[in-house]
């Protein structure tokens, strides 16, 4: 004899479990925004207060409102009506709104097609924890046709540790909304009829009184482009280049296809700071995977490790990503499609990393980061003695010995007399030398080519003192490709180097070898 049995679901436990996944009151807002968007709202107002009786979160929109069925699905589990006006509606399995159960009261007031529905649920969290299903009282009332919209009030939201509404600030909210919710949607890059929504957030003065409210839209916008470096020491910091929307077709090994919509920017610190950021940049920039154009998780290893992900901000949207119930994680990471998406993204980002603009940006950055480091010559006494015995005439083995060589040449009567007055191997311009009565800012190196290898500046240098030139082809390559975005002309006949980066700099080359 055989019987068929269906596994039973304990509804109360299910509700408890799902609602427990949500900790942060901001998640209430994220879910509400998605609902409002799906309801076609053009304006959403969010108000958060911290009252003595507990926190209060109010979300009000001008969307199409809810009827009986919509409201049921709002409170029910796993029963999303997906009633969005477009296919890309965001509600996922109707789990999102279950976060509202984590409170002392849920009040929904909604109007659709001439009917106003008011649903009030008391002590949902307490009841769930007492293993009873919370119920809601529903009142219906006819209202004038043409009005619609939804007003939700959550009172006494039970935050997880460290997530209380009192800890919120406008900055934190703006960052959260732009980074984690549809307020930071990249959808508008990919469609002409993107539904815009104005989002207003008001925090009670007891939470943050630094401003009255925060108004934003539901579009992620990048800082304006600035492809050329600016002035000053960190000339790369406001550089910014947009990489316009691209649709990448991804094919998995088993032949299924999907599309990844990717858009992004590369930029320096100042450019990135124009985005609403909060806390550490390292937690924000890089490459984001998104669904419904809402960022979910980062895949920074799609950027080859020699490029610091911090300079990148890319959002790759794919509807074939599946999310966990609380939308915080991607669920199908072991699927071939996920692997293929990541693969394709790495490939795309490697193109960006090879973009000549990016390389130029990095070289400006390197220049800015130039550290003042002394060349420390570590070698044992014996080795050094040996070296002296091996050489039949004086040749310097480090920069400091070039200084000695120069002094020696003076003693032997070389003209003109050039003396080192100040030598600081750790300084950018490592020496001050005197010729006749004048002091000259100088760079002292074993070979002329070393000056360039060490990435030292030319603007502030009057003389380069070197033992010898080094590889002349290397110098010719410098003349050909330029140095620090200026032009270099080397006139060895006249011991002169001309550097032109808008201004012309004449640099005298002193070859110590020729003076001895």
């Amino acid at each position: 004899m055989s019987t068929t049995k269906t596994p039973q679901v304990n509804e109360v436990n299910e509700f408890l479990e799902i609602a427990s996944d949500f900790e942060d009151p901001l998640e209430v807002i994220r879910e509400s925004l998605s609902n409002s968007y799906d309801a076609g709202a053009t304006e959403v107002e969010i108000t958060i207060r911290d009252r003595p009786i507990g926190s209060e979160i109010v979300i009000e929109d001008d969307g199409e409102g809810m009827d009986h069925a919509d409201l049921e699905s709002f409170f029910d589990l796993g029963n999303s009506t997906k009633r969005g006006r477009q296919n890309g509606s965001i509600g996922y399995k109707g789990h999102g709104t279950k976060i509202f159960y984590k409170s002392e009261e849920v009040l929904v007031n909604t109007t659709k097609n001439g009917t106003n529905l008011r649903a009030q649920m008391d002590q949902p969290w307490e009841k769930l924890n007492n293993r009873t299903m919370p119920e809601y009282v529903l009142n219906e009332e006819a209202v004038k046709e043409g009005n619609s919209g939804t007003h939700i009030r959550i009172t006494g939201f039970k935050s997880g540790h460290g997530f209380s509404p009192a800890s919120l600030t406008y900055n934190k909210i703006e960052h959260y909304l732009k980074w984690k919710t549809l307020a930071g949607s990249t959808g508008h890059f990919f469609t002409d009829d993107f539904p815009e929504m104005e989002i207003t957030v008001t925090l009670g003065d007891e939470i943050d009184d630094t401003r009255d409210q925060l108004v934003m839209n539901n579009k992620l916008e990048f800082p304006t482009e600035q492809r050329n470096p600016g002035e000053g020491q960190f000339s790369e910091s406001r550089m910014c280049k947009h990489y316009p929307p691209r649709e990448l077709t991804v094919e998995t090994e088993n032949g299924t296809k999907t599309t990844v919509e990717v858009v992004g920017m590369v930029g320096g610190k100042d450019a990135r700071n124009e985005l609403p950021t909060y806390g550490k940049h390292s937690a924000q920039f890089g490459v984001w995977l998104a669904k419904d154009h809402i960022k979910v998780e980062r895949v920074n290893d799609t950027i080859s490790h020699d490029n610091e992900f911090l300079h990148f901000f890319f959002i790759a949207n794919c509807q074939d990503l599946e999310l966990s119930a609380n939308r915080e994680k991607i669920r199908n990471k072991s699927s071939p499609v996920y692997q293929a998406i990541v693969e394709e993204l790495s490939h795309y980002l490697s193109k960006i990393a090879s973009d000549p603009w990016f390389k130029d940006y990095l070289s400006h950055r390197r220049k800015a980061k130039l550290t003042r480091r002394a060349e420390s010559q570590q070698s044992s006494i014996e080795k050094r003695e040996q070296r002296i015995q091996d050489r039949n005439r004086f040749t310097p083995s480090n920069d400091a010995e070039v200084v000695l060589g120069l002094e020696r040449s003076n003693r032997f009567g070389a003209e003109p007399e050039i003396t080192v007055e100040d030598y600081d191997p750790s300084a950018e311009v490592n020496a001050l030398v005197r010729q006749d009565t004048n002091l000259y800012a100088s760079s002292i190196h074993r070979r002329l080519t070393d000056h360039f290898k060490a990435d030292k500046p030319l603007e502030s240098v009057d003389k380069i003192v070197c033992w010898s030139y080094g590889d002349r082809d290397e110098l010719s390559e410098l003349e050909r490709s330029g140095y620090h975005s200026g032009e270099v002309t080397i006139d060895l006949e006249n011991d002169r180097l001309i550097y032109n980066n808008g201004r012309r700099h004449n640099i005298h080359i002193v070859t110590v070898q020729d003076r001895l």
Binding site: Y243, S350, K351, S354, D355, P356, D473, E474, S476
Partner: protein, 412 residues
């Protein structure tokens, strides 16, 4: 001002299409024709041969059998894969050769030998890289002093279509004075080479250097010795050498070849065909994309000798693991040859020779695809070719991007 026809005595190279810096055209030398870009397999025509057959020597012998379409390799016509062939004077040094055999070997031009049915273009390299250490051609019981004169004599006797001067390759760690000295010595050979040959010969000038400045220095040295006039008038092509030590550094190879094209343009040589000596297989599409016209490669043989069956320019499998039905090349479509590759062969050369032939076909087909990508209008085809062929190989991706960025207008 001279007209172009005076400047170049025989326009052997006709460029018919360009995409970025890449170009496609035809090299007409004597009665042979070679479409470019092209890859010349290195063939060792001596390979221990005797008069009885010039077919000595293991796998090399099998390759020559394929060239000929012999019955021993089941009689297929493989001649299209040997439209151009590179051989080096230095190939003689691979064998302990007697004076008699040496004389015998060079007694008749390769293309006129009865035992061969070869009518492709024959490049005859000087083998400078091999004589670098001691300038002797070592036989078992004799020595030929290798100088420019001896090399030209051998090149002529073997009937080379393209002759290359004896050169002094540079090494990556040579310093500036050493490179200048080598350029000067090469220039002296070039001077002699020009005296020993005539305008009826097709002559390639060897260049050595890893970037623009080195190549410019090299050319300047040559000019100092032979004079401006001759450096500009006498050569039909340029062969870029000394790259073998860089063969695993694609970055440097690309720089060397693209800088070489730039130097040639600045010297007024941009229309000369550019051959890249000794660099093969996976670098070819990259280097062709930045403007190299011909290549020579012995990697098809070397892979085979190491038991490697190429599945693309970038990948290979141990020959004993291969499913030959996955390749539809002429070799793998031939049951007799497949059986041999599967191990049913009397000698290794019968097994590995067929593998080498397959490897060569893989390389030749790739260069064929490259040709048609360059020939199709615009740069798009070449970009997508590079994307699909190299861009999907992790190790090649960066280089592919660089070539697209630098030579084909970039992505953004």
């Amino acid at each position: 001002m001279e007209s172009r026809s005076e400047q170049f005595k025989n326009d052997i190279f006709e460029i018919s299409a360009e995409a970025g810096d890449a170009r496609s055209g035809v090299l007409r030398i004597g009665d042979t024709e070679l479409s470019t870009p092209n890859l010349l397999p290195v063939v060792n025509f001596y390979a221990g041969g005797t008069d009885a057959s010039l077919y000595g020597g293991g796998i090399h012998r099998t390759i020559k059998e394929f060239m000929n379409g012999d019955e021993v390799v089941n009689g297929g016509d493989y001649s299209r894969y040997f439209d151009g062939v590179m051989t080096s004077v230095a190939s003689l040094t691979d064998y302990g050769i007697s004076r008699e055999r040496y004389e015998d070997y060079i007694s008749e031009p390769i293309r006129e030998r009865d035992v061969f049915d070869f009518d492709g273009t024959l490049f005859l390299d000087s083998g400078g890289f091999k004589f670098l250490g001691d300038s002797r051609l070592d036989g078992s019981d004799f020595e030929v002093e290798v100088d420019q004169e001896a090399i030209v004599e051998i090149q002529r006797k073997l009937g080379g279509d393209v002759l290359v001067n004896l050169d002094r390759p540079i090494a990556p760690d040579d310093d500036y004075p050493t490179r200048v000295e080598k350029a000067r010595l090469t220039a002296q050979n070039v001077d002699e080479f020009l005296n020993l040959t005539s305008r009826d010969d097709t002559r390639y000038l060897t260049l050595h250097g890893y970037n623009y400045s080195m190549l410019d220095t090299f050319l300047s040295e040559v000019e100092k010795v032979i004079g401006r006039d001759r450096v500009h008038r006498e050569f039909d092509g340029v062969a870029l050498g000394s790259l073998v030590p860089l063969k695993d550094n694609k970055e440097k190879l690309i720089t060397a070849v693209s800088d070489c094209r730039e130097v040639l343009a600045d010297w007024g040589f941009e229309e000369l065909p550019l051959h890249v000596l000794g660099i093969s297989s996976s670098a070819i599409p990259l280097l062709a994309a930045v403007g190299a016209d011909t290549f020579d490669s012995s990697s098809y043989i070397h892979s085979a000798i190491n038991g490697k069956y190429d599945t693309s320019l970038y990948n290979s499998e141990p020959v004993d693991d291969v499913d030959f039905s996955k390749c539809d090349c002429q070799v793998c479509s031939d049951d007799v040859l497949v059986k041999r590759m599967e191990g049913d062969a009397e000698y290794q050369k019968d097994k590995l020779g067929a593998v080498a032939m397959h490897n060569l076909i893989i390389q030749k087909e790739e260069i064929q695809r490259m040709q048609s990508a360059i020939q199709s209008p615009g740069d798009g085809e070449l970009i997508s070719y590079i994307e699909q062929s190299l861009g999907r190989e992790k190790s090649m991706q960066q280089h592919a991007h660089r070539v697209v960025n630098e030579s084909l207008g970039g992505y953004f």
